[in-house]
């Protein structure tokens, strides 16, 4: 067996050499034979004649010897050549089939690759299914208590995304960082690529500051991971020693270049982890002990939260149910988070599209084999074996799917990069996405299976028809069962198109609603940059002077209408949420109402409200009279006023941040009430907002928002700030428009994909319907001729086919609407302002599809009336 295979392979390689050698061998034979004859005394001519006769003719023998060398590969090659000829001879069929395959395989592969990379592929951490994400639902410092009390976990680590300013050679540079607890990498199971990760000793108060670097950062800044270890980085005024480099591609939630220890950070910024108040939200990741389920861990955490609620009623009594305060989910769920529904919907849509493409391909192949029934029959009649026929068809379709697969992979790569470009930069695991070869092979296999099933089964059936039958039946076309199959195909197409189009309709409807939402400010023509005044060289007084200078300097730029500074970027929202108390109300009063007054705290310049065009409801905006030394003031949004002073005039109220038991900052007088602002995103409800003058509460990092009359580039703003002080780092330039687009990108992706696929699905369905009716008309030409000869009118003939089409269309749409309603739940978190079963959208979709498909029925039906009865009868 092996020897045979080897000989076959060698035969292939040696083909050309052997062809020549066969001739040489036979010539040698002839000469020997001639010599033998001559030695027996025959004449030269006679010897030659005899030798050639014995050999059976030189050319024939060469030919038959060479034929022995032909292998199965030659047979296949002959079939492939024939298949290529068949495909070339029917270009319309081939082009349509290829389009279907390319589209089906391409888009499915691209989108399923994304969905797989984001949703399914395990997270890049050791034993990742034991990792869970832990957070407090309401902000208080329970982290240390969790660590002490919880028994479900091998370890709990905390981390915070942050950024630091690194003193570079020219301008200071912003570096994305993450502050992590000492055990963070241990919990994730990460091992260093170079150097070491954090030890307990690094977290001691007297330890020298250390940093762990990302692989990309190490390469970028120091040339290699090896060179990076031991380097000193000056960041936010402190010198850190790089102790290690992470493996390439390491990422936790967000990309970060520098990992610093959380413990010293918290001690410096938040009066220690033990402070239960005014604590920044800390998110934890924990590794479950082997065998402990998320459910068991959740139960334990709720018990702990309940106990903490009793021990610290002032801070841990979030609401009536203290167990509410812990949020624990598998880490993978958290990381995928918001994108999961979008991806599920998009992947669902694409599977439907692949289905429709396959169904269409099936219809196409059914038609094709119906029209080739005669060819198959004749081939069978003249002795072609069944296997010959099946092999021929297999090769034809394999060729089709192969070309479709290759082109589909190219299309898939293009679609993939287009979609990744569309995705928001914050999209989880974006960097892990690539065209998945496994997915590509699966979609190709599905198409293959579909092609074989619908292309070969009818052909085999046709081939079993006896030759005589074919001759008698000659040209009468498809059988009844094939017609029924084609109708089923048409019905399925309409149903799938209905589902996709309903989804598209709901998303378009949502986007229209979203565009109509009043965010509470005017988001157009706002350019933003962020700058940071960090380090000991920036005392509050100097910051305050610098704020004013920036506002004045930028206002002088051409095209600038107004300038504001703020700590909360609209759409991104404030990350400073505080509880405040009001003079004259006791803690007991608020506990009895169930909620302490609270709001997102936003520090702003006086020009902020004018710049963003947030309307004044009552009182006044901040103005030039509000200075570092004047009386502390505050402005609240209308919903704060409604919620916490329902029966009083909020103007003139005294408020102070913090719980009554642990207040901080001075008492402030409410001087104004402004309109509600959807600060956290247009699709979120407006949250309570508390505004304070940034001049009274200076901050290191502030956003600059510039309202422009004409386009003002971010770089000119940056240059203007650097004019004032070239050591200030400026970064994150974006327009508010961009932010709004980013914030709605989940919906936009769903809308674009569903709409594009919906349109394609409708087109495919229309083509399918057209094909079925046209085929029916073609098959019934003779009947039509007879009917018309007997006096049927054009209207009656049309009616014959329209009625037939109408029934299938109606059933198809009904099935589709049913399926759309069943699938609607998957859109629930994506729609905005409409219900997923919105009757208006569904009826519009049904109406549109009815019109399109009936039009597709009408066109071939009309052509039926143009049949010339005489010709139709004669053509039989």
């Amino acid at each position: 067996m092996i020897a045979r295979l080897f000989a076959t392979l060698r035969g292939l390689l040696d083909r050309y050499r052997i062809e020549g050698e066969i001739a040489e061998e036979l010539r040698d034979h002839l000469e020997r034979e001639i010599e033998a004859h001559r030695s027996r005394g025959l004449s030269a001519e006679e010897s030659r004649r005899l030798a050639l006769r014995d050999l059976g003719g030189l050319m024939q023998t060469i030919e038959s010897t060479r034929a022995v060398r032909a292998t199965w590969l030659d047979t296949v090659w002959r079939d492939v050549a024939y298949a290529a000829r068949v495909l070339r001879r029917s270009p319309r069929f081939t082009a349509t089939a290829l389009t279907l395959l390319v589209f089906g395989i391409g888009s499915t592969t691209a989108i399923v690759s994304i969905a797989y990379a984001v949703l399914v592929r395990p997270l890049p951490y050791a034993d990742a299914n034991r990792l869970v994400f832990l957070a407090e639902k309401e902000g208080s410092a329970n982290f240390d208590d969790w660590r002490r009390r919880a028994k479900s976990f091998e370890g709990i680590a905390g981390s915070l995304a942050d950024s630091v300013i690194r003193r570079g050679s020219q301008f200071p540079q912003q570096v994305d960082s993450r502050n992590v607890t000492v055990n963070f990498f241990g919990v994730l199971g990460t091992t260093p690529f170079q150097g070491r990760l954090f030890h307990e000793s690094d977290a001691r108060p007297d330890a020298a500051p250390t940093a762990v670097l990302s692989h990309a950062f190490a390469i970028r800044e120091f040339g290699s991971a090896q060179a990076a270890v031991g380097q000193t980085l000056t960041m936010s005024g402190r010198a850190y020693t790089a102790i290690g480099v992470l493996p390439p591609g390491f990422r936790y939630m967000t990309m970060a270049d520098v990992y610093l220890l959380l413990e010293p950070f918290v001690a410096a910024n938040y009066r220690g982890m033990q402070n239960r108040l005014n604590h920044t939200a800390l998110y934890a990741v924990a590794r479950l002990k082997p065998g402990v389920s998320v459910t068991a861990a959740r139960a334990e955490m709720q018990t702990i939260a309940a106990a903490l609620g009793l021990e610290y009623p002032a801070t841990n009594r979030g609401s009536d149910n203290p167990a509410c305060c812990v949020y624990i989910v598998p880490l993978a769920d958290r990381i995928v988070g918001d994108m999961a529904p979008t991806l599920t919907v998009v992947a669902g849509a694409v599977v439907l599209l692949l289905l429709i493409a396959c169904v269409n391909l099936a219809g196409l192949l059914l038609n094709k084999s119906a029209s080739r029934a005669d060819e198959f029959g004749i081939r069978a009649a003249i002795g072609g074996s069944r296997w010959d026929l099946i092999r021929q068809l297999l090769i034809e379709q394999a060729l089709l799917v192969l070309i479709g697969g290759v082109l589909g992979a190219v299309a898939g790569a293009a679609i993939l990069s287009a979609l990744v470009g569309l995705a928001p930069r914050e999209m989880p695991r974006l960097d892990e996405i690539h065209l998945d070869l496994v997915v590509l092979s699966w979609t190709t296999i599905v198409s293959c299976a579909c092609a074989f099933l619908f292309g070969i089964v009818p052909a085999v059936k046709a081939s079993s028809v006896s030759g005589q039958e074919v001759v008698v039946r000659s040209g009468r076309g498809a059988t009844r069962s094939a017609a029924a199959l084609r109708q089923a195909v048409m019905l399925a197409e309409i149903a799938v198109a209905t589902v996709l189009l309903s989804g598209a309709g709901l998303m378009v409807h949502s986007m229209v609603r979203l565009a109509r939402v009043d965010p509470g400010f005017d988001p157009n023509n706002l350019q933003t940059v962020m700058f940071a005044l960090t380090g000991p060289q920036w005392p509050d007084a100097r910051r305050q002077v610098f704020y004013n200078a920036v506002v004045e300097r930028l206002r002088a730029l051409p095209g600038v209408e107004n300038v504001a500074l703020t700590t909360a970027m609209p759409i991104l929202g404030s990350n400073w949420w505080t509880v405040f108390n009001t003079q004259g109300k006791t803690a007991e009063h608020w506990i009895s109402t169930g909620e302490f007054p609270n709001a997102d705290t936003v520090l702003v310049t006086a020009s902020y409200f004018d710049t963003l065009r947030i309307p004044l409801v009552k009182g006044r905006y901040f103005d030039q009279t509000d200075t570092p030394n004047s009386a502390p003031v505050a402005i609240v949004s209308s919903n704060v006023a409604r919620k916490f002073w329902p029966n009083e005039d909020p103007l003139g109220q005294q408020i102070r941040q913090g719980f009554p038991s642990d207040p901080f900052g001075p008492w402030r007088t409410v001087v104004g009430i402004v309109g509600d602002v959807r600060q956290q995103g247009v699709d979120r409800n407006a949250t309570p907002q508390l505004f304070m003058p940034v001049i009274q509460v200076p901050r290191a990092t502030v956003f600059t928002i510039v309202r422009t009359r004409e386009t003002v580039s971010a770089s000119s703003i940056e240059a203007a700030i650097h004019d004032l002080d070239r050591n200030v780092s400026v970064f994150n330039d974006r327009t508010v428009d961009q932010l709004m687009r980013d914030s709605s990108s989940r919906r936009r992706i769903a809308m674009i994909v569903l709409s594009a696929f919906g349109v394609v699905a409708v087109l495919l369905a229309a083509i399918g319907v057209y094909g079925v009716i046209a085929q029916a008309v073609a098959e019934r030409r003779r009947e039509i001729g007879v009917r018309m000869a007997l006096g049927a009118t054009g209207g009656q003939i049309r009616g014959l086919f329209l009625r037939h089409g109408l029934i299938v269309v109606a059933v198809g749409i009904a099935c589709g609407v049913g399926a759309a309603l069943a699938a609607a739940r998957s859109l629930a978190s994506l729609v905005f302002g409409v219900t997923v079963t919105d009757p208006a959208t569904l009826s519009a979709v049904a109406a549109l599809l009815t019109v399109v498909t009936l039009l597709a029925c009408y066109m071939p039906a009309r052509s039926a009336t143009r049949v010339d009865p005489l010709e139709a009868l004669r053509s039989e």
């Binding site: 000989a7 000469e31 022995v68």
Partner: protein
């Protein structure tokens, strides 16, 4: 016509048998066959070469172009292990067959 037509399938066996005696080229095999069978068996040379190449494709003989006398190149065939194995099998089969034939024919006399 006293030269027996070869029974189908026996050509391979004969070729292998002759090659077992030693490597040979096509013409040599053909003339050796006539010689040994005392002109009783004569193969059509038109089917000899396809059979030789078929045997080579099956790995039962291998061949080599070698320089031969008077400046020509001849393809010389050598039997392989697989060829010997087949020869033994087929020889047994053939002998069993021939024995059965003879028994029936002699019994019938």
């Amino acid at each position: 016509m006293n030269k027996t037509q070869l029974l189908q399938g026996t050509l391979d066996l004969l070729i292998l048998r002759i090659l077992e005696l030693g490597p040979n080229h096509g013409w040599g095999i053909s003339s050796r066959l006539q010689q040994i069978s005392q002109e009783g068996l004569k193969t059509s040379q038109g089917s000899l070469y396809p059979a030789l190449h078929r045997l080579e494709m099956r790995g039962e003989v291998r061949s080599e172009m070698t320089a031969s006398e008077n400046n020509r190149r001849a393809r010389v065939y050598t039997i392989t292990r697989a060829g010997r194995k087949r020869l033994n099998q087929e020889t047994e089969t053939w002998e069993a067959f021939a024995l059965s034939m003879r028994r029936v024919l002699e019994e019938g006399q």
